[in-house]
């Protein structure tokens, strides 16, 4: 039987993987990808809530709207973040977070 | 001195590309329509149709050796062609014509005369340089072989391909 907790657990594991990636990896781009993964994990739990918490027999579309917003904001965030990473790479020739230890260059 | 080419100011129609694109499409359409009815096609159906009749006067094909009308080998094995050949495709092994031979009036003839067609570049320098007019470039193409050995033309093959050339050595008269 497929229950809500199945989906929530899957989303939680994906989120935890993303979290682990953010903590363990040192390459900024990969850290950034792991952030994306965490955002998508929250999307999964939101969609699961929308499907299980029906409103008059229909899926709760407000949750899906929130997912829509999250995807949009994530896309904007990726564009800006990648631009920052490119600028960083131009200045320091590295994408390793350990090598970026000064606030000003 | 630097010469500055002023770029032409484009009109609106040229900037939009579209008229040019459509006129280009019209041109290709015209060509295709014509070709569809078999007109204006310049392809030659090779193995059935041959190019032989259209070969130009100056065409240079496979080099061959010739004999004169009496059956004498014209080549006197002077090895000028061997020396001048840029890709060193020609190998000549001379021999002396023995005393009492019918052709003893010249001293040497080739014992072996090999032209490696895998190396030949059809430059025609051998024909140009030959004092006896013994080597000629045939109007020949599609020179093929299945191995490197097959691509080497030996003396017999060269004479067979070249055949007989009548007349005197005319090279010195005409001063080309």
């Amino acid at each position: 039987m497929l229950t809500l907790s199945h989906y929530l657990m899957a989303s939680g594991i994906l989120f935890a993987l993303g979290l682990a990636g953010v903590m363990l990896r040192r390459n900024i781009i990969i850290v950034f990808m792991c952030l994306e993964m965490m955002l998508s994990a929250t999307n999964l739990s939101l969609v699961a809530f929308s499907r299980y918490g029906l409103v008059q027999g229909h899926a709760n579309y407000q949750a899906q709207i929130l997912v829509f917003f999250i995807i949009t904001v994530a896309a904007a965030e990726v564009a800006v973040g990648l631009a920052i990473i490119v600028a960083l790479f131009r200045a320091k020739q590295t994408t390793h977070s350990e090598d970026l230890n000064s606030l000003k260059f | 001195m630097a010469f500055i080419v002023n770029r032409k100011k484009l009109t609106l129609a040229e900037k939009l590309y579209l008229p040019a694109i459509f006129s280009g499409l019209a041109i290709t359409w015209k060509h295709m329509k014509r070709a569809l009815f078999g007109k204006g096609i310049i392809t030659m159906q090779y193995p059935e149709e041959k190019w032989d009749k259209h070969l130009p006067e100056w065409y240079r094909g496979a080099p061959t050796l010739v004999k004169d009308e009496t059956g004498r080998e014209r080549c006197v094995a002077c090895q000028l062609c061997e020396f001048i050949c840029p890709p060193r495709a020609i190998t000549i092994e001379p021999m002396e014509i023995p005393d009492g031979s019918h052709w003893r009036k010249v001293e040497k003839k080739p014992r072996a005369f090999d032209i490696d067609m895998a190396r030949c570049i059809y430059c025609g320098l051998c024909e140009e340089v030959c004092p006896e007019q013994a080597i000629f470039l045939r109007k020949d193409y599609s020179i093929t072989g299945l191995s490197r050995d097959q691509m080497v033309n030996h003396k017999d093959k060269l004479y067979e391909m070249g055949g007989v050339m009548n007349g005197l050595v005319i090279k010195w008269n005409e001063k080309k």
Binding site: - | I21, G24, L25, I27, T28, W29, H31, M32, R34, A35, L36, G40, I41, I42, T43, Q45
Partner: protein, 400 residues
């Protein structure tokens, strides 16, 4: 019918007969019927498309030859019609070479990734009305149009991966070019068809085609419902139908629809890497771009993928703008299976006509320079598509 089945049953043992009978019932139950018809439809469509792909390659060579006053392949079979088979045999028998420093796994994965997305796109295209009551769409889903966009946006990965995994300069440049080209043309591709969704009010490709059957094709919206085969017998009725179609709203909507057709068509060239925009594989600059290092079946898959993308792209254009399977005066498949077959034929005829245009354009236009391509995408088509959406909204709101 019962007599017939009784008659047949004598040829089987009772156990086998009951098995056959339950099998038949299973197959005719709604879910079983859905499964086997879907399977059959997919198989047949895939077969047709793959055949069409190999003959598109042949057509490309013949048409290019004719345009250049040549003859093209005409030796294998009558007029060279067996050439695709000979080519396939040759490619299969060649050595499948992997360069030494290539990343083997990704190098082998890339051609498959190029091949899969265009085939997935075919899944939602309505390639016919209906045949014996079976709808001629493999999957009629309510987000069909965005599905097409989403799947075609994935197709870039194969190219990028091929460029990267080859570990070689030219393929790498091809892969990089492909990504940026894809990002810049995806936007105008997606935005240009928004006016259609606004006019039709649905993303389901079947609904879009049905709208075009009733209201006229998107690029020539001139006939409302009256344009059926009865009208053919009474020309006056047909004329009335056309005149009724020429309302102010129809005429005004024609402008944004033609613009969006134009943008979509051009963007499709960029999306399928066809000639005015074939920078990822530019032969003269990049020696073949992303598939430089491939040989044998890997190369063949790239080729097949490109042509399948062309065919599915042509299918999408047909479905969205050229009325899908519909022809004026021709009824749909519910009037008899002959009409159903004619509808399928009409769909593929339209695809073939579009493929011809693709080929014709390829052998006419020179390649765009890279900055020109970017400029065209970002400065021109993007803005035009957005303005087009506003124009459509204005017409839909104010002109009744």
């Amino acid at each position: 019918m019962d007599d017939f089945s009784n008659f047949i049953s004598h040829f089987f043992s009772p156990a086998a007969w009951t098995f056959l009978k339950t099998l038949g019932e299973r197959l005719m139950s709604p879910i079983g019927f859905l499964i086997w018809t879907t399977f059959l439809k997919s198989t047949i469509l895939l077969g047709i498309i793959l055949g069409l792909v190999s003959y598109t390659v042949y057509a490309e060579r013949r048409v290019s030859a004719l345009i250049q006053d040549r003859l093209g392949p005409n030796r294998v079979g009558w007029q060279g019609l067996l050439q695709p088979i000979a080519d396939a045999a040759k490619l299969l028998l060649k050595e499948n070479f992997t360069p030494k420093n290539a990343n083997y796994f990704y190098f082998r994965l890339a051609p498959k990734l190029v091949m899969i997305p265009p085939i997935l796109v075919l899944g939602v295209l309505p390639f016919g009305s209906s045949l014996f009551g079976v709808q001629m769409t493999i999957a009629s889903i309510n987000v069909g149009a965005i599905y097409v966009l989403a799947i075609s946006s994935i197709s870039v990965y194969g190219i990028v991966l091929a460029g990267w995994a080859s570990n070689s300069k030219y393929p790498f440049l091809g892969g990089i070019r492909s990504t940026s080209q894809m990002i810049s043309y995806e936007l105008s591709l997606a935005l240009s068809i928004v006016p259609i969704f606004m006019v039709v009010g649905s993303l389901n490709l079947n609904t879009i085609v049905q709208y075009q059957v009733e209201q006229g094709w998107m690029i020539a919206p001139f006939w409302p419902q009256g344009m059926n085969w009865h009208a053919l017998l009474h020309p006056a009725a047909a004329w009335q139908a056309i005149a009724a179609g020429m309302s102010l709203r129809h005429l005004l909507l024609w402008i944004p629809l033609i613009i969006s057709f134009f943008i979509f068509f051009v963007s499709m060239f960029a999306e399928t890497n066809r000639l005015p925009f074939d920078l990822p594989e530019a032969e003269q600059e990049l020696i073949g771009g992303y598939h430089t290092e491939y040989s044998s079946m890997g190369f063949a898959l790239f080729f097949l993928g490109e042509y399948t993308a062309m065919i599915s792209g042509a299918g999408v254009i047909t479905t969205l703008f050229l009325g899908g399977w519909s022809l004026p005066f021709i009824p749909d498949g519910s009037h008899g299976w002959v009409w159903g077959l004619i509808n399928i034929g009409a769909f593929f005829a339209k695809i073939i006509a579009l493929l011809f245009v693709f080929i014709w354009v390829r052998w006419t236009l020179p390649r765009f320079r890279y900055d020109q391509l970017m400029k065209l995408g970002w400065y021109f088509f993007f803005e035009l598509a957005i303005v087009n959406i506003f124009l459509t909204a204005l017409i839909l709101t104010y002109v009744k």
